[in-house]
Point group: C2
Chain length 937, copies 2
């Protein structure tokens, strides 16, 4: 899962090269500098042995503490044991390098000097925390020990120095419990047994008749410490270690050990983090924020992580430790109020946060502590943010001159843009729905956005209800092309079956509909208009709400609103700061990218949306989608069921004007941009009625018996329709279909050219070609028809004829096929199906399990399989351009909207990617990033 | 369709080469010698300008006439216009080279001199025939003109010289009719109109009150000539040409013209003969065999073309022309009787036929004429023969020292061997069945052989009827794996649907069953036990007879008998000459070939047959076929329908001993040969019951409700089962299945090893692998299970673990996959399906049309697509051996039994091919031929 380093963009035509197969890119081997002499890195007092560049050695936390110390910021002194120690630890049977003890001792003494306290000093003891820290954040996966250095003697010193015995004994009580857990392995509520420390604490509170921990006195806590240590001795057979140095080594060993615990391993596997990276261990002097009203603790971001606004954002609590902020017992205050309460600390904090952002040239997430009015920085790191904030921060920083435009482009994860476009539920609505238990289930976030509507169970009902003004959600076991009109009428789609590339998901994303797919907890009894989920039942007309960005399904109605960007993009509202940032980012992306972007769109309204999203053409118009519209479907059915060529031609003649009108609509929207039109592709069976009533109705219309029609429908059924009579095979069996479609295209082009005086650029695309001859036969029909139409119309229109490369045979025979094709468009959906031998529909049964078992790094229908499918694409590109150096190359599979896949397409030297209209911004940014990375490399 | 010149056999390991895609082999360009000066080649009188090597220039007929003349054999003099003239004719707007007229004139005068007659000599005219002759025989496709040179004057001379006016006028009558047809374009019964000449002839016979042509007198014929010439003038507006030179040039032009007639073009396209080859034209002095009782004509073969026996074989008629022999009005006499009737000619004929066979080193088909006791050779060519004769002649000739063993091997078309193995109907039976109108339909000859039986319509019935001793034919719409037991019980299979690679055809060939598939004329109403064909109806139990070698279906019972080779092979009879020839040929083939041959076999009896046919191992044991046997199917169903792993393991535990017994049976038969066992492959749905009764029965057995079982069955249904949850995907979802199968294999291997003390070599094969990781996971199970079993048994058995390469992804990732695989076996059935995106089952709908339109040169499921699928195989071989130089490579798709595909496998450097047992002799011979051709190249 580590980001791939893109290969340099190949030159377009390399006619004399031998075709080499795509080789898997070797994982970048860890940039391992020669083994450093040093194992332990000190920081504090305005100096540090390490710096921010040493995350590999010191972990993110250690490197940034060192960096802050170097900057002269107030950091509690400490030291970091490098990841090399961890690696050594695991490669030498859990033994440390011999010099480690000496180095730790020296660093420790430096801390003692810096802070002016000593370990084990009963008068004023030095206390430390021992923390893990990997190269990348693994939140909560590894262990930490706080308040280390306390024992029966030093606790008294702490009580005295802090003038707060209760604080001291509470710290001691927590330390014993934490140490017992982390270092001695006396875990929490594992198995049937309750955590013995928690049980003892409860007993004590019961004894004292109190409910909150804070109500226990110093004396109570002291008794508890005794009891805790007795528990330790009972369980481990050994006394609790009183000696601080023994405590320290115990904690260091435990933290290194936690690198290999089960959940850390699982997390690394999930995130693709190599097991051999190891963790660093930082030992830091404790600073307390709960020593009185002029102490405190807080977390803050240098900009608003939700909106990206340039505004110092955060919260704090006075007289509190960090865990109090997290625990939510007291309500933290907004950071702004600190100015009044603690003006000196506030001023310092302002100076520091500005310094840090400027220094790191990135929005920072910081933790601080105020000890008796004095500010300490505990941590700083790059702040996590929403997609909205990512866009705004990147653009703002570039505008402020903090980073370059290129950096801004590279900083926004392309997928984040999706958030900017989708309607949203108001935050409050979601929270109250959750609180009230109205979250029904969570499934695949197949089409982002938010939608509330009344549920219907049939496509026809969706159309009907929508026609009378209802807002509906279409709920189906799974969808099929017959449902297209219903899907169009619905504002959201919910299916019980199917994956991220199921029919529902694909169509929903193309239409920009909200979709939650594969909700296995739904039960939809066949033939009934009812839905069961987790023991509850919903009927037709009930309200549900779908969050297609999270995959959540809620009961009831929730208000939605279009996003700021969408409202501005379509002129419904004046855009604000986010809109401005989005527009700038897109402009910069367009300037940076080499790949053109096109949309997969079949209807004029989709085309209009696509243009707004920056489409430079249509890369795939699926003519069959047009066939489901209006009365066309019956004509299509008559055409399919015709017994003779004459009957078929008769039906086609009636389809011609309708199809021509479709194309005119598209050309009007898109002119002067190119429009790629694919001839009829799906198995004919998909167009036929299957329910007895529908068959009877059509039979009556066609004047034949329902039995005969049913038999005909049955005779067209295929065992494996995906591998059946479809694609160009239809046009070869029934050339009259291709002729009609070509005529419709060229007549429409001529009409629009004449009426609008705009350039129209049709690109006629033949699907599912496996051999040169197939393409040749279809191409001949298209060109002959074009010439006829131009002669009739007294007008010529420039056009191309090309093919999809969606079969392995087409890829390995691309040199022959390029003899007849002016362009290739990679149909990576089908190419993935045939390369893997996996049907998109049926694969859902095992693909999740395959991803779990690391057989697939990702769903190959969502993210292009560079190794396998990519090899075939590479072969096709090289062979194709060998025959025809100016061959135009594109991709129109779902992968055309996937950022990683777009990167590969760029590296392969394609001319364009084509994707669903709503993914165009993502594609534009991903294309820009690919180009920038290639230039950097 | 021209035979491919094999590339030199590549060395096995070429680790450092770059992988290059398979390039289509350029068609061997015509070996065009520098344009010869000469356009016309004379022969006759013991000399000739040309010879046998000049077939390209002179056509087969012209070259052999020249050769015979050179040999001093009595050939009527003549000359040949070369194919260069034809090429020039078509490339220069149907104009001849300028020197042609002069050369023809000179050659013609030479003929006149040689024969002592002159063109147009009213006293004793020279008459000639003008015949076409291409490089390869195109029987009946082009035109011929006989008796050319006759006119109103010369006919009288012919009458006088022959002393036979009737003969002369009949020749003239025929000439006018033929010339009018061929040269003047007054064709026969085209369209609605009757041929006017035939009509006139009929009128004349009616007028004279006779029924036979031969009953007309010279005077009648003379009147007819006048009438014929009048018809010509009426129709063409021109007089019939009387001038012999004009006739000659007219005939030459017509014969060259016939090269481009529709049926000749169609024939060439069908046979893959290039259109630019052109035809030669031979002009030969006429010799008549109907001049009296010491004249005659005959055809003969130097050996028996049916049996191959070394015996001069043929027939003749005295006082007759060639067409009389063909027309069948008089019954010709066996050639041997000529010795008595015409001893001088007989002696001469014996001398010549022996000379010709020795000279051409091949069995010859000759035509001769006896003119007043003097023998003339009209033609000689390589004789066509049956498969039986091909084998015997080749072996005999090698034994006689006439040809080398290598030549003998190269002379037998591998497919011919099939004829030697199949049971046969007696010839008389077939003839009388045809005569009596009992031939019902003709469809695909999907499984060769002959079988009569009583028809049944369900697999269960086949099993039942066979169990009580009936001989049955299973008649199905199409078959499925559920029918396997019924197919095994039947002696023949007849299906209404499906192609040469349908389930029925594949299984039938593997089982060696007679099969006629895709008989579209059959109607089998669903649920009824009845069959309609061409208006006739047959019920369960009626007798039909299938000839799977011709695809014919007969009504009634016809006696069959095993072939001589089969009877000898299985010790039922002592073999005769054919058996001896077959055995020798196979021995020589085994010595010559590099490829090993294995069989696809699942059962001990199949294995036994395979060994008899020369199997050196089993290349594919489909374990799922074993699952349909006996009670196993219900256990398999329980296993599939199990709700929990525990339930599944319980069913598997009960399957284990049964499966182990299966493998023991196989190992016993095959030891010490290797046996490749493939783990479970097909979609699970194929094993499930689909009829309500079957579901109810199973539900009762399993103790669940039929509704629940039906729902479970339904839930396993897939949209595209070929691309679904099958192959290794099953073993990954349910590792316990692979564990059971591996345990059964290794326990069986240990048992057989111990009991028989024979080497057992299991090769465990994982199907449908797309990624290295899939193989790795399955391999781990197999190896761990093997080690466990060996430890339990105290005994080790050598084994391999490998995979099928049957997905394009596996081919392009073969380097990774070879890291885990000890062998690859190309599953070219599935690889063809996925490479083309065509389902074998559904492709039948359009593949025939594709072949017709020359999109496919052949059915890619029968003959390997070298360009596409072959490219992927080449990639896999090169990548695989790059990783593992000693990788064992084989093929186990249907193509493993196809001679051309075997040639490709040899050139690719595979180690073995595996095919149906009955195709092993073919494979052995094809492998030998591939090796010999490669050595020659």
């Amino acid at each position: 899962m580590s980001p791939q380093k893109p290969a340099p963009r190949p030159k377009k035509a390399r006619p004399h090269e031998k075709v080499a197969l795509a080789r898997p890119r070797a994982k970048p081997t860890r940039a391992r500098t020669p083994r450093p002499e040093r194992l332990v890195y000190s920081f504090g007092g305005g100096k540090a042995d390490g710096d921010r560049t040493m995350k590999d050695l010191l972990g993110g936390k250690g490197a940034n503490l060192a960096e802050m110390s170097r900057l002269g910021l107030p950091v509690p002194p400490g030291f970091t044991l490098s990841t090399e120690v961890c690696t050594h630890f695991y490669s030498h049977g859990r033994k440390y390098p011999t010099s480690l003890e000496r180095e730790v001792q020296a660093a420790h003494e430096q801390v003692e000097r810096e802070i002016g306290k000593r370990f084990g000093d009963a008068a004023d003891p030095l206390l430390v925390s021992v923390r893990s820290g990997a190269r990348v954040s693994m939140p909560g996966m590894m262990d930490t020990v706080l308040n280390l250095g306390l024992n029966d003697a030093t606790v008294e010193g702490l009580a005295r120095v802090s003038s707060n015995p209760r604080f001291a004994w509470d710290a001691y009580r927590r330390f014993v419990q934490m140490y017992a857990d982390v270092v001695l392995g006396l875990k929490g509520d594992h198995g049937d047994e309750r955590n013995p420390f928690a049980a003892a604490l409860d007993r004590k509170k019961h004894e004292r008749g109190v409910t909150l921990d804070t109500e226990l006195t110093a004396a109570d806590l002291k008794e508890l410490v005794t009891e805790f240590k007795w528990i330790v001795q009972q369980r481990t057979g050994r006394r609790f270690p009183e000696e601080p140095r023994e405590q320290l080594w115990g904690a260091i060993g435990a933290v290194f050990g936690s690198w290999e615990n089960d959940r850390a391993r699982a997390y690394r596997e999930m995130q693709g983090i190599p097991h051999d990276w190891g963790t660093a261990v930082s030992v830091v002097a404790m600073v307390y924020g709960n020593l009185g009203p002029d102490s405190g603790t807080g977390v803050a971001f240098t900009r608003d992580p939700a909106t990206g606004e340039r505004k110092f954002y955060g919260e704090y609590l006075m007289n509190a430790q960090g865990e109090d902020v997290v625990a939510g017992i007291r309500t933290p205050l907004p950071i702004g109020t600190l100015e009044k309460g603690s003006p000196r600390a506030w001023k310092e904090l302002q100076r520091i946060q500005q310094r840090l952002e400027k220094h790191f040239r990135e929005m920072q997430d910081i933790e601080f502590m105020i000890k008796s009015g004095r500010l300490f920085m505990l941590q700083c790191r790059t702040g996590k943010r929403t997609g909205l904030a990512a866009v705004r921060i990147a653009v703002d920083m570039a505008e402020e001159g903090l980073i370059s435009r290129e950096e801004a482009l590279l900083r926004v994860p392309p997928e984040a843009l999706d958030q900017l476009l989708k309607p949203i539920f108001e935050r409050k609505e979601v929270e109250s729905a959750r609180k009230e238990g109205r979250l029904l289930t969570r499934a695949l976030n197949a089409g982002p956005g938010a939608a509330s509507g009344r549920i219907v169970f049939r496509a026809e009902d969706a159309t009907e209800w929508a026609a009378r003004g209802e807002t509906v959600l279409l709920v189906r076991q799974e969808t099929s092309p017959e449902d297209i009109r219903g899907m169009q009428a619905a504002c959201g789609i919910l299916t019980a079956r199917g994956g991220m590339t199921s029919h529902a998901a694909l169509v929903a994303r193309q239409m920009g509909k909200v979709c939650v797919a594969g909700a296995g907890e739904l039960e939809i009894p066949h033939g009934e208009r009812v839905l069961h989920v987790r023991g509850r039942t919903f009927h037709e007309g009930d309200w549900l709400s779908l969050d297609g960005s999270t995959g959540e399904v809620f009961e009831g109605r929730m208000a939605t609103q279009p996003s700021e960007v969408m409202a501005a993009l379509f002129g419904h509202a004046k855009g604000g700061a986010l809109w401005k940032a989005y527009s700038k980012l897109m402009k910069w992306a367009d300037e940076a990218r080499d790949l053109a972007v096109r949309a997969n769109a079949d209807q004029p309204d989709q085309a209009r949306v696509a243009v707004a999203f920056g489409a430079e053409g249509i890369g795939l118009c699926r003519t069959e989608h047009m066939f489901f519209d209006g009365d066309k479907i019956d004509l299509v059915r008559e055409m399919i069921l015709a017994e003779t060529t004459a009957e078929r031609e008769e039906a086609l003649a009636r389809l011609l004007p309708l199809q021509r009108a479709d194309f005119e609509g598209l050309f009007v929207e898109m002119a002067p941009r190119p429009v790629t039109i694919r001839s009829l592709d799906p198995p004919l069976h998909e167009f036929l009625p299957h329910e007895p009533e529908a068959i009877a109705a059509l039979a009556e219309k066609m004047g034949i018996s329902p039995e005969r029609l049913a038999a005909k429908v049955e005779s067209l059924r295929e065992l494996n329709p995906m591998l059946g009579h479809r694609g160009c095979r239809l046009g070869i069996s029934y050339p009259e279909i291709t002729t009609m479609q070509a005529r419709a295209v060229f007549e429409a082009a001529c009409n629009v050219r004449r009426k609008l005086r705009k350039t129209v650029k049709p690109e006629f695309m033949i699907p599912l070609v496996a051999t040169r001859r197939e393409l040749e036969l279809q191409e001949r029909i298209v060109r002959e028809t074009a010439e006829k139409v131009f002669a009739e119309q007294g007008l010529r229109v420039p056009y191309l004829v090309g093919t999809m490369i969606e079969l392995p045979r087409a890829a390995v025979c691309a040199d022959e096929i390029a003899e007849r094709a002016e362009f290739f468009s990679f149909g990576t959906n089908d190419l993935t199906q045939t390369t893997y031998g996996i049907s998109r529909d049926d694969g859902a049964r095992f693909i999740p399990h395959y991803i779990e078992q690391e057989i697939f790094p990702a769903d190959p229908f969502a993210q292009l399989d560079v190794r396998g499918v990519g090899s075939l694409m590479r072969i096709a590109v090289e062979l194709g351009r060998r025959t025809r150096p100016d061959l135009k190359l594109g991709i129109c599979g779902e992968h055309g909207g996937d950022p990683r896949s777009i990167g590969f397409c760029h590296d392969l030297g394609l001319d364009y990617v084509s994707c669903s209209p709503h993914r165009l911004p993502i594609a534009r940014l991903a294309a820009a990033q690919a180009a920038l990375r290639a230039r950097q490399a």
